[in-house]
Subunit: 360 residues, 2 copies
């Protein structure tokens, strides 16, 4: 088990990653009550182990339906009122036990319930363990607008147990691996190469192998958010692949792609874009594309309307004053954040990747 | 015009109080766009003056219905989606132009829209000018639970123009004066005595006189929140009268009392309570009750069920682990925050005041 430290505006907190991590929850003290926010299926599989490891007796979970639909303001209100009815006060602890949806929703509820209570992230997907559970970004969707409302609110702790990843579907596991690939591109040649070797050999049941990958990928996120908690600059690099990615998710009504899959396409697209604007050497671009494809096949984009996808780009919430902050790879281990990209190149990159006319 | 300074975790900000204050909004620069959240009636009366003073052209307001019903999570979502549809980005400014409801709602939306944008409070009621607009507490109600969800999020500036108070109904004006009385009790003999003289002579049309009162009362709030932004201790003194007050509002479904009126009763009740537990000299208690009554008559409480009112007390959100932090006057200018009050005294105080058997 590894202990990583995140610096935040309200002090430091631990990210515990590895077998046995849930047992560190025993050290939580001084709360009047503990509430676990989770999804029914997950609670059924893992609830009793979590409660046993953490030493909680008589935990009655707050259940929300699985899926993105639960990441809404209305659901945040329902959870807050249930907390209130069950007597949660300002010294209660909320445990967000689940994937990205539960983590984002739970963080948002914790940050706003009685103007803020402590919470712990117990992520149960690869995506959440390496990315969304770390860094204190919380959010809910409003109508079709993803993450329109949220807060910066660091958790008291993040506790990632790799054993739980064995329950993921093959597709969900793979989707998380695209975020790992993103971290490898950001990190540099050492992690990039290591991940290439590991992905080639990885079988879903090998949680030991996954543990090592997840720990390294989590470290990348920890390093970035420790240096830029509120996304004033550096943290934007984490949006690598997300600009196109969000547009792909939105244009398909969040049905066709899992989030990581959309990010997978998004990374291919910005890699091509970086080549087109002369920032990235095509040989390096090919290596990046190769690692993305090594994570596995992606749902198709060939039958999407380029016009619609591109029309959705400026609505990315990282846009300031109508511009888009593109995150473009310059080489493995280095990206550039720039609004200075011609529309024609943005369209050409989409067209090239959509037609499969590049690095395939 | 006076300029007060509030210290907060994210730096200092100005509270401008006095005639001409809205003109200081001209100094706001560097925003991509400005959005005004307000109520239709208020905008009709004062919108053009505000826009003229502030130097804004073509301001199209975001309108929400007047009244507590607008202080909901659902309304926060509607405002956020309208902001998004109208192109608000992370460098947009939200102006909360209204009373407590618009201020609390606007602050909450600003604190969560795209994880936080800047906002300015332009309060238009006595209550908002002396209290709710200062200090960065934001909130919405969830079902019947008042302020269940909210944030600590300081405004960039508070701008209070007394001229606007001339449009208040006599009852709304008077309701705000109870909060001024609260600040006088907290402040000490000088302000207490001054307010007594002023209240005796005050006519609603005298905004000059009101300006002086409001400025002094705002200063009290500024001093308290500068020393304890997150209500870890000192700030709790501002809840003087609010524990009973909230119960009175809740038991009558928020229909019988304006907020300030409930606080007026609440102050009478805790004053009696402080006498009963031996904290407060009855002569001093009589002076406090006298100032409360000088603000004007209050809607009746004699026909409320004591059992129901008392039963609603522990749900006050200042309760930690089921206790209530009572704020009890010890003398004019000094209160004590304590959970250590026998239930029998709490009930006796309510009974005494309800029967009119005390200081009347």
């Amino acid at each position: 088990m590894k202990r990583l430290r995140v610096k935040s505006s309200t002090g430091e907190y631990d990210v515990m990653v590895g077998r046995g991590a849930w047992r560190t929850l025993r050290r939580l003290e001084g709360y009047t009550s503990i509430f676990v926010l989770t999804e029914p299926g997950l609670w059924e599989c893992w609830g009793s182990k979590l409660a046993r490891d953490a030493g909680w007796r008589l935990v009655r979970p707050l259940l929300v339906p699985a899926g993105e639909g639960s990441k809404s303001l209305a659901m945040a209100g329902r959870v807050a009122s249930e907390l209130s009815e069950r007597g949660a006060d300002r010294r209660s602890l909320l445990v967000a036990f689940g994937g990205g949806v539960v983590g984002d929703l739970g963080g948002f509820v914790a940050s706003t319930y009685m103007r803020g209570i402590d919470y712990v992230q117990v992520p149960t997907t690869v995506l959440a363990q390496v990315d969304s559970a770390i860094g204190g970004k919380t959010a809910v969707n409003v109508r079709a607008m993803k993450n329109l409302v949220g807060t910066f609110y660091p958790p008291s702790r993040v506790v990632s147990e790799p054993a739980v990843l064995a329950s993921l579907s093959a597709r969900a596991l793979q989707s998380g691996l695209y975020e790992v690939v993103k971290h490898a591109i950001l990190s540099g040649p050492a992690f990039f190469q290591y991940l290439g070797t590991e992905l080639a050999a990885l079988r879903p049941s090998q949680t030991g192998r996954l543990e090592a990958i997840v720990t390294r990928a989590a470290q990348v996120k920890v390093d970035v958010v420790s240096r830029d908690e509120h996304e004033s600059g550096l943290r934007r690099v984490l949006n690598l692949g997300h600009t196109y990615g969000h547009a792909l998710e939105e244009v398909t009504g969040y049905r066709r792609f899992l989030h990581g899959e959309a990010v997978g396409w998004g990374m291919l697209l910005v890699t091509r874009l970086a080549e087109l604007v002369g920032l990235l050497d095509p040989a390096e671009g090919e290596r990046i594309a190769g690692l993305v494809w090594q994570a596995g096949p992606l749902p198709p984009i060939h039958n999407l309307s380029a016009e619609k996808v591109l029309g959705l780009l400026p609505r990315d919430k990282k846009a300031v004053g109508g511009m888009i902050h593109w995150v473009l790879p310059e080489r493995i281990g280095k990206v550039r954040v720039t609004p200075d990209v011609p529309d024609t190149a943005v369209a050409a990159a989409f067209s090239d990747v959509q037609r499969g006319a590049w690095h395939e």
